[in-house]
């Protein structure tokens, strides 16, 4: 597994952990008053530390940081993430209308939450696009 793949795998892990924090952990703590928030933050911190350590370990001393193929894969992943960003933004614009109605309003404190959620999902799409492309190329080589 090269550096780009490891980076994509760790980014997927961190984004999934953060999304779970927002979707599952915070609502559970609010409803049941079980203290999972702090434990979850420890899990995320540990994951980040382990990821950084593993990312710095090279397969061999001669391993380059990235090559031409990695660049092509990353560029394709950016395009996929960019397209998904617009789909998500359209959804983020219309879902509140469906929930509160055409003449409703949403608190401004929700805007950073919505935008951060979109950012996390886009990063997840970017990482998954990288991993899928490496998977495909690996199969082609076989």
């Amino acid at each position: 597994m090269n550096r780009t793949q490891k980076g994509a795998l760790f980014t997927s892990g961190i984004t999934l952990l953060l999304l779970a924090l927002g979707i599952v952990v915070i609502p559970v703590q609010t409803v049941t008053s079980v203290k999972v928030f702090r434990i979850w933050l420890w899990v995320i911190s540990l994951f980040i530390i382990v990821s950084v350590i593993l990312l710095r370990i090279k397969q061999s001393r001669a391993e380059v940081d990235f090559d031409e193929r990695d660049n092509v894969i990353k560029k394709n992943a950016v395009t996929v993430a960019f397209v998904s960003l617009w789909a998500l933004l359209i959804a983020a614009s219309f879902i509140p209308t469906l929930i509160v109605g055409d003449e409703g309003a949403i608190p401004v404190c929700f805007l950073p939450v919505i935008h951060f959620g979109v950012f996390l999902i886009v990063m997840l799409v970017y990482s998954v696009a990288i991993l899928v492309q490496y998977g495909r190329k690996g199969k082609e080589n076989e």
Binding site: V78, T79, L85, L89, A92, T97, V108, L111, P112, H115
Partner: protein, 147 residues
């Protein structure tokens, strides 16, 4: 001028026209509390039709019958421009999250119909960044070829 450059010019002109119109509407309705003037609306629609017409005409006209739709260099330039647009979207998100707080306060609310408008503004800005990035890269490459 190849097809990618032409479409970048067309996008830039279209986006600037839309921004100018949005600015005029905001000032007219939001600040002056008056309906937009019909003559200016007519001028704007005519300008938009003119830009679209000229754009489509030049877009369809090839430099030569052998001109390809796009080559390796065009693809590279477009990929880099997408990256530039992608990066530019995130500061806009931060701005779009922070500005309403300053206007209505931290505990205030905004109407939901504003959300699609914000999204469209961010989209047009990203399109502008994309087109300008394409044009800058072609400009640089042309300069490199001259020297």
């Amino acid at each position: 001028m190849n097809k990618t450059q032409k479409s970048a010019w067309l996008n830039t002109a279209g986006v600037l026209l839309v921004f100018a119109f949005a600015l005029y509407i905001t000032i007219q309705i939001g600040v002056r509390h008056r309906p937009p003037e019909r003559i200016l609306l007519c001028i704007w629609v005519s300008a938009l039709v003119l830009v679209a017409g000229i754009g489509i005409y030049f877009f369809r006209r090839k430099q030569s019958p052998a001109e390809p739709e796009s080559d390796e260099r065009d693809n590279l330039i477009k990929h880099r421009a997408v990256l530039a647009a992608f990066v530019s979207v995130w500061p806009l998100f931060l701005t779009a999250s922070a500005i309403p707080k300053f206007i209505v306060g931290a505990s205030g609310s905004i109407p939901v119909f504003l959300l699609p408008i914000v999204t469209v503004c961010i989209f047009y800005f990203a399109l502008l960044v994309y087109s300008v990035a394409v044009l800058i890269q072609y400009g640089r490459i042309a300069k490199g070829e001259e020297s």
